[in-house]
């Protein structure tokens, strides 16, 4: 077992990922990184 003081599971793996990092790693190329534009372009 790891040393008691590090007897933990780090759900972020040491990386402070923002919304856009998460989406980028998933290969999403959304508008401004996290906006889904509707097909008929209502949003812009």
């Amino acid at each position: 077992l790891p040393a008691p003081e590090k007897f933990v599971k780090d759900i972020d793996g040491g990386l402070d990922q923002d919304i856009f990092d998460i989406n980028e790693d998933l290969g999403l190329d959304l508008f401004e990184g996290d906006i889904r534009l509707e097909a008929h372009g209502r949003n812009s």
């Binding site: 933990v8 759900i11 402070d16 923002d18 998460i22 401004e32 949003n43």
Partner: protein, 640 residues
């Protein structure tokens, strides 16, 4: 985004789809509470309204902008998106907000370094002029929860956004909570004048002391002062930082007459939700036996003076420092909060002081971890700090550890530990969500940007060695000791090493008077296991059998009517599905087409009939005329 048709109603219907992770569901509901506290936006489970937001576990974290009247408008909270500020961010998109740095005047405040942006991602830094998006006359907001961070879409390690005011370099991209300007814009956009759960906040800076009144049923009064000889030297709101300000209420128990009592009552308050959380800071510079009692005076029918109910007795108050207290109420009628100070029998050199009161219709944290002299922990070695042991409402013993790295980050972890109830509890610990909040001690609860992370105990999660992660600590944990030497078992910690950076931790009022507070709540969220809302009637188990061989299309819901499965079809504002299995789509546009075509058909048929009848009539008339003419000729012949 400009356009009223993009607005949602103030109460937004939603569905938490079953695809969502359990922790995400709890985090989303917590995010809704932040909206209810600080804005007039509320959320309600979908019950068939035309448009609603369907929150599901898609790939990544994304949303549309504004109400796009799609009926079912999707919003994705995927893996690693279950952070409360991420949910707040995506719902702000759904409410009609773009990203902050896409404002038309963005270049006045930040500089985009285009060559450091990932290839083909430059378009993410476009700005939109004020014909498309409206900044609502609010200044540029480095602190917005909608702002990119300085490393957004970087192709290396250098910043893609540089703030013209360098102090804001590490502020942009905060993912803690709404900023003041976020709230200003949202409340302006939706014409908010009140919020669902905020009730009162008082720092006693105004002489009207927020409408609080001195009771006559006591022997002394609370005084509005800015310092007391025996302590505190200054208030809690400003910690004495502001000249000629910084007031708090003080009850002097040093007068020496035993049993002195001072009662301070709030103005009349009107609850909406039936549950409340009172929060305030208390300073004891009197004797160890001075006591503060918290009552509610509820005005019910037939009780003109109200019914006084003791809610909390606060005894053995630590002396010499401001302490944070929470009291839970369950009041349903209009009421006052009553602070009753009682002087103890022992000699006192000061008294009781209260400051920074906040009352809201939210849930109080279950526990408060108060860390004093915090700054000495920063800037030293890597250090691990453990909280005292706490118990969840069901009796699970737990502890929090804070891992302070020397340079950059502070981590936080939740540990189950061995406790007195372990033999009666269910193991592995099922679906308890632990929420850990680093409190921003701004006197006004509405202006706080506290940092919060939630984790949920998944009973099926295993360690590398195959044991269950959340099994009984005495089975899977390690032996540890409390400061008093008592031994206990501590389970593995579950949390994050990047809870907050040193820079942010030193910002705002996370550390105030060298005190730091972590608020802790451990809730059973197993009821969220299947939460997808269905319109009435709610399917029952028999429905499941009768419906098991029926598949309704296009989102139809199978119900049983008179023992037979029937599909209830979804409908929107101008569209609907119909047919036995909701296989046919209809819309008002079809109706119009049908109406027009039938009108034209009727007109054509009538026209034909008219023409034919005219033709026949003319032909008959012509025939008659010619016959008459012939007869006349014959007659004339005879006459001659």
């Amino acid at each position: 985004i400009i356009g009223d048709h993009y607005r949602w109603p103030h109460t937004i219907p939603y569905v938490l789809e079953d695809s969502l992770e359990m922790n995400a569901k709890g985090v989303i509901l917590n995010a809704f509470e932040r909206y209810r506290l600080k804005t007039c936006i509320d959320f309600k489970p979908w019950s068939g309204e035309a448009n609603y937001i369907s929150v599901f576990k898609g790939s990544g974290c994304w949303s549309s902008v504004g109400n796009i009247h799609a009926g079912k408008q999707e919003l994705s909270i995927g893996t690693n998106c279950d952070r409360i500020a991420t949910v707040q961010h995506e719902f702000l998109h759904a409410l009609g907000f773009w990203h902050e740095q896409s404002r038309a005047d963005r270049d006045d405040y930040v500089t985009i370094v285009w060559e450091r942006i990932l290839a083909d991602r430059e378009h993410n830094f476009n700005i939109y002029n004020d014909s498309v998006s409206d900044s609502l006359n609010v200044p540029y907001d480095y602190n917005s929860v909608m702002h990119y961070s300085k490393t957004a879409f970087q192709n290396g390690t250098e910043s893609t956004i540089i703030t013209r005011i360098s102090d804001f370099e590490d502020v942009i991209g905060q993912r803690m909570d709404f900023s003041d300007y976020d709230l200003l814009k949202l409340n302006q956009l939706y014409n908010c004048t009140s919020s669902l759960s905020f009730m009162d906040s008082c720092d006693f800076e105004l002489e009207n002391i927020c409408g609080m009144i001195q009771s006559s049923r006591d022997t002394a009064d609370w005084q509005r002062v800015s310092q007391v000889l025996g302590g505190p030297e200054n208030d809690h709101s400003n910690m004495g930082q502001c000249k000629d300000s910084g007031f708090f209420m003080h009850f002097n128990t040093s007068t020496g007459n035993e049993g002195a009592k001072a009662v301070l009552e709030s103005r009349v308050l009107y609850p909406k939700r039936g549950f409340q959380c009172l929060e305030f800071y208390l300073y004891n510079s009197g004797s160890g036996n001075d006591q503060l009692n918290i009552y509610t005076r509820e005005y019910t029918a037939g009780h003109q003076d109200g019914v006084l109910t003791l809610q909390r007795e606060i005894k053995e108050i630590p002396t010499g420092s401001w302490q944070l207290y929470y009291v839970t109420f369950k009041v349903t009628e209009k009421f006052r909060v009553v602070f009753e100070g009682l002087g103890g029998p022992d000699a006192s050199s000061g008294g009781l002081s209260i400051d920074d009161i906040n009352l809201s219709e939210t849930r109080c944290p279950h526990h408060v971890w108060h860390i004093q002299n915090f700054t000495q922990l920063l800037g030293g070695q890597n250090i691990n700090v453990y909280s005292p042991p706490f118990y969840s409402p069901e009796g699970y013993a737990f502890q929090i550890s804070m891992y302070i790295e020397a340079l950059t980050n502070v981590g936080i972890y939740f540990h189950l530990i061995s406790g007195a109830n372990d033999d009666q509890l269910q193991w592995p610990c099922p679906w308890r969500q632990a929420t850990m909040t680093l409190l921003d001690q701004n006197p006004d609860i509405r202006q706080r940007m506290s940092n919060q992370r939630s984790i949920t105990t998944d009973p099926t999660m295993t360690n590398d060695n195959g044991s269950y992660f959340w099994d009984r600590p005495s089975k899977v944990g390690v032996v540890a000791s409390f400061p008093n030497g008592t031994q206990y078992s501590r389970g593995r910690g579950y949390g994050t090493s990047v809870f907050i950076t040193h820079k942010r931790l030193k910002s705002r009022e996370f550390i105030k008077g060298d005190d730091l507070y972590v608020l802790l709540t451990v809730e059973d969220i197993s009821h969220l296991n299947s939460t997808a809302a269905v319109p009435d009637p709610v399917p029952t188990s028999t429905v499941q059998n009768a419906c098991s061989e029926v598949e309704c299309q296009n989102g139809g819901i199978c119900t049983v009517q008179d023992g037979r499965p029937e599909c209830k079809c979804p409908a929107g504002e101008d569209w609907w599905y119909m047919g036995k299995r909701c296989e046919t789509r209809g819309s008002t546009r079809d109706t119009i087409v049908i109406a027009v075509s039938s009108t034209v058909t009727v007109f054509a048929v009538m026209l034909i009939i008219t023409l034919v009848s005219v033709y026949c009539t003319r032909r008959r008339y012509r025939k008659k005329a010619s016959a008459n003419a012939a007869a006349m000729n014959l007659e004339n012949q005879h006459a001659f």
